[in-house]
């Protein structure tokens, strides 16, 4: 409850500590207790300084109280653009916790894990149907790792051809992980400026490719303005004609599931953020999962192992001599795969298309509702998200950050701020298909009220938030003299 008591600071768990309190009990040890000084000698450490001593109810209250300072999808619209903060169905949580999944050890013999392999196989098939690609690896832990995985496969394919192309083209509107992943895959990044319309500049791509040494282009469809890339097919053609590859950032797949397919766009690799399009929860930061779908050209280089049919059953196959190897331990974030497949089953083919339609509909409704009050720097049709800027509020001394903070007072999370970089003072709004009319209207109302406040009482917006558990923070102090852990 929001009474003062829980609004009052809850100290750190270490500060709740009192000698002799415990929050656990271990099974009674029947075997002889070993004296670790004997068995481990000099490697034995003493008591660990600072660990807390708290009871079970201490822990429950501590984390329950902490939780109440969070905003979450379970409480309301969470328009964080590019993150697809949709509803996380509870049935998925229930299923992921079935002992047959949760307790499964990754190194059990193959005949004991047939259900898990079947599930992975089914998920791969579903993702293939959705993407129109040739194969999928479920191994990457998140989108960024998917990008890296895809780029490593491209690198390996080029190596196989004996080519040493080093340049990866990335539009200036791309997500930060794109250039970072390209670099960690051993490439150099050449940024491509977007057209005045905010889309991929085909001619710039053509020129860059013509210069030679281009390994791939990483594009996002729809792009980070929520706008479809009309020339994506042409760009693919340019790349392929040159022997380069097209990597698609699939973070925005929610906009077109069942409507268009990356395969038809000419993608050679694309990652799918299961924690976006396929509803696995964001967990306050993760874990997610970032399967990568590839064209036939890249199939030989998939990470090992892959799930393959064998007789009536399935095996984990390591028989892929050209593989890039492994990108993480074991086989992927399996419990996330369970949730994603459950979501796909729950919606079915038509439901998935309706999902994409719903997402696009909601974003356009928000666009319509706000374009009278906020400036829309790019005018092309909106798909699943819409990016405004703060240029109409700036004259009153109100920035996008102020608007975001004031939204918190209105009971909403803020949009994504200052991304894409091609928009100054950006506010990127992605409502998702989970929102129904009432919630969207309340959000639009709040945004319009803030626009009015920006004109009439700008200091209210600049001072916001006022009703949150804490007010604006001193971020400079945090960075200048970092305190990153508690000390007694």
């Amino acid at each position: 409850m929001s009474g003062q008591g829980t609004r009052v600071r809850e100290g750190l768990i270490f500060e709740r500590s009192s000698p002799g309190r415990v929050g656990y009990q271990l099974p009674r040890l029947e075997v002889p207790l070993v004296d670790p000084a004997v068995t481990l000698g000099g490697s034995l450490r003493g008591e660990i300084d600072g660990l807390p001593e708290v009871s079970e109810v201490d822990v429950v209250r501590h984390f329950t109280r902490l939780s109440k300072w969070n905003y979450s999808v379970d409480e309301g619209l969470y328009p964080l653009g590019s993150c697809t903060m949709k509803y996380n169905p509870r049935i998925n949580e229930e299923l992921a916790r079935l002992p047959g999944f949760a307790h499964l050890h990754p190194l059990q013999p193959a005949d004991q894990v047939q259900g898990a392999l079947a599930l992975m196989w089914e998920l791969e098939q579903a993702l293939l149907a959705i993407t129109g690609m040739a194969r999928v690896t479920l191994q990457p832990a998140a989108g960024a790792q998917g990008e890296l995985t895809g780029m490593l496969m491209i690198r390996r394919a080029l190596e196989k051809r004996g080519e040493r192309r080093r340049v990866v083209l990335i539009p200036d509107s791309a997500h930060g992980t794109n250039p970072a992943s390209a670099v960690f895959a051993g490439f150099e990044v050449l940024e491509i400026a977007s057209t005045p319309e905010g889309t991929l500049d085909v001619e710039a791509v053509r020129r860059a490719v013509a210069k030679g040494g281009v390994a791939a282009l990483m594009a996002t469809v729809p792009n980070t303005l929520g706008v479809f890339e009309p020339a994506i097919g042409e760009v693919a053609q340019i790349l392929h004609d040159d022997g380069a590859f097209l990597y698609l950032d699939g973070a925005n797949l929610n906009a077109f599931v069942g409507i268009a397919s990356p395969g038809k766009m000419g993608a050679d690799a694309l990652h799918i953020n299961l924690h976006k399009t396929f509803s696995t929860p964001h967990g306050g930061g993760g874990p997610g999962a970032g399967p990568v779908a590839v064209s036939a050209a890249l199939e030989p280089y998939l990470p090992i192992p892959t799930v393959e049919r064998e007789g009536d059953g399935f095996v984990l196959s390591y028989d892929r001599p050209e593989s890039i190897g492994k990108v993480r331990g074991f086989y992927g974030n399996f419990a996330m795969l369970v949730r994603a497949l459950a979501y796909i089953r729950s919606l079915g083919g038509d439901g998935l298309r309706a999902m994409a339609e719903g997402a696009v509909l909601a974003a356009n409704y928000v666009r319509k509702g706000l374009e009278g009050d906020y400036h829309l720097p790019y005018q092309r049709p909106t798909l699943h998200e819409v990016v405004f800027d703060d240029s109409r509020q700036k004259p009153f001394g109100v920035t996008n950050v102020d608007i975001a903070k004031r939204l918190l007072d209105y009971g909403f999370h803020a949009p994504t701020m200052s991304f894409p970089l091609i928009v100054h003072g950006a506010m990127m709004i992605e409502p998702t298909e989970s929102e129904s009319l009432g919630e969207l209207d309340a959000f639009i109302h709040a945004m319009r009220e803030i626009a009015r406040e920006a004109r009439e009482t700008p200091e209210v917006v600049r001072q916001a938030p006022e009703s949150t558990p804490v007010q604006r923070l001193d971020e400079v102090r945090a960075a200048r003299s970092p305190v990153l852990r508690w000390r007694r």
Partner: protein, 448 residues
């Protein structure tokens, strides 16, 4: 009409407000050439039907509970406090995202700050981040950090007793970075061969990586490794795959290791067929600006109240892009929260008691196996924590015979990597009852 979507009236009202006749008009920008027909994914299913399908998958798996299980090799079965999952399931935690708006994210932020503190305490390091994907990628990040710090040094010396999955992942990343991996063999005790180390290191080495306890469960001579690394100007990196061992074993931090990293799965995280678990990364203060991943720092709000915030973000991809210290974005924060809850519950006594109990059970099994005379360890006499390697030429066959008696006797090294000595990695924890241990010992003697 679907339970996850808005209703018909909602849709009509939206279409009308937008001024289009159908949703299709909103997709006008998407050319026919990339369009698809109906997805062949069947109809929408009810919860009942989805449950039926998934229960069927789950039932085709055999969970270790159905047997006496001694599987480890990177994933360990320890006590799972009911509280941890119950708290993690609060919607405020699991349906939020990265705490970009600290004013409405103090719950996540404070919990991560506590997590960072726990990791520093366990590892005796100065700073720890807000999680990485898993142990394997944590080791990668350590080596990449060393590469950045080391300038032109492009070689990494890596103990062969590193978990083979960690090693494989490291190789994937290193090859793209043009970094070379030099194997550091194990000696007759199954430990990193510190005698050989001086020959293997050099001015071109940016990091020396060992895992302790290593893949054989053996405690490594960390002090000597640290010294050798320091000697050549390389960073010393300790990997930890069985994190509960930190309740008993001096961590690399004490010996000046630059990075201690690995996976915290052992603190009650469900095995879940391999993930999600949670990578951790702790380092010396001097490497702070080169750390991968998110960091939460303490500060104050306008009213002067203590509060927490993401900090030093200039290291990260969303700001630094191509120059970021890592490409990680979505991390494993919820599992980090889970581990923070488990560590809170265990606390000072529990962290140690858990390690002592687990170690005691494993020592009991090890002693039992040794007593028979029929069975031998590959590295007898070397200090192990809760896992050890039984010598056997046909480990898969041996294990198959144990299964008939309801025993999952361990992981065959043949399944892990070809370079390991043939045998069975046997892990025992406080979850193994004495009866299970005795059955394992007897069964091994009978079939060995």
């Amino acid at each position: 009409m679907h339970r996850y979507l808005a209703g018909e009236a909602d849709r009509r009202a939206m279409l009308e407000a937008i001024g289009v006749a159908s949703v299709e008009e909103l997709f006008a920008d998407i050319p026919a050439a990339v369009r698809v027909g109906e997805l062949p994914l069947g109809p929408a299913r009810s919860e009942d039907e989805v449950r039926r399908e998934f229960w069927a998958y789950a039932l085709r798996n055999t969970t270790p509970e159905c047997a006496a299980s001694f599987l480890g090799a990177g994933v360990y079965r320890h006590t799972v406090p009911a509280v941890a999952d119950a708290l993690l399931q609060r919607g405020e935690f699991f349906t939020a995202y990265t705490p970009y708006q600290p004013e409405v994210s103090q719950g996540t932020l404070q919990a991560i700050f506590e997590f960072q503190t726990f990791v520093c305490q366990l590892t005796e390091q100065d700073v720890a981040n807000a999680s990485l994907y898993d142990g394997a990628t944590a080791v990668v990040e350590a080596v990449l950090l060393a590469g950045r710090v080391g300038g032109s040094r492009r070689r990494v010396v890596v103990a062969e007793s590193l978990h083979p999955d960690y090693r494989r992942v490291l190789e994937t990343y290193c090859s793209a970075q043009g970094m070379e991996v030099t194997p550091l063999p194990w000696d007759r005790a199954g430990m990193a061969d510190v005698e050989a180390l001086p020959r293997l290191v050099g001015e071109d080495v940016c990091a020396v990586v060992v895992q302790s306890p290593n893949v054989f469960g053996i405690v490594e001579p960390l002090a000597a490794v640290a010294e050798a690394a320091r000697g050549c100007g390389a960073l010393a990196v300790q990997a930890v795959a069985e994190a509960t061992s930190l309740g008993l074993l001096v961590p690399g931090g004490r010996f000046g290791f630059d990075v201690v990293c690995g996976d915290l799965q052992a603190f009650g995280v469900p095995p879940a067929f391999g993930g999600p678990h949670v990578g951790f990364f702790a380092a010396r203060e001097r490497h702070l600006r080169q750390m991968p991943g998110r960091l939460v720092g303490e500060t104050v709000d306008r009213a002067g109240r203590r509060a927490f915030v993401l900090t030093l973000a200039t290291r990260e991809q969303h700001i630094r892009r191509a120059k970021a210290t890592s490409n990680i974005c979505t991390n494993h924060g919820l599992v980090a929260l889970y581990v923070a809850i488990v560590l809170s519950l265990l606390g000072k006594r529990g962290v140690r008691e858990l390690a002592v109990a687990s170690h005691s059970v494993a020592e009991f099994v090890k002693a039992g196996i040794g007593r028979s005379g029929k069975l031998a360890l590959v590295f007898p006499g070397s200090p192990t924590y809760n896992e050890f390697l039984l010598r056997h030429d046909d480990p898969e066959g041996l294990l198959q015979r144990l299964r008939g008696q309801g025993i999952l006797g361990g992981v065959p090294t043949t399944r892990l990597a070809p370079h390991l000595p043939p045998g069975v990695l046997i892990a025992a924890t406080e979850q193994n009852t004495t009866d299970e241990c005795l059955r394992l010992i007897a069964a091994l003697e009978a079939v060995a």
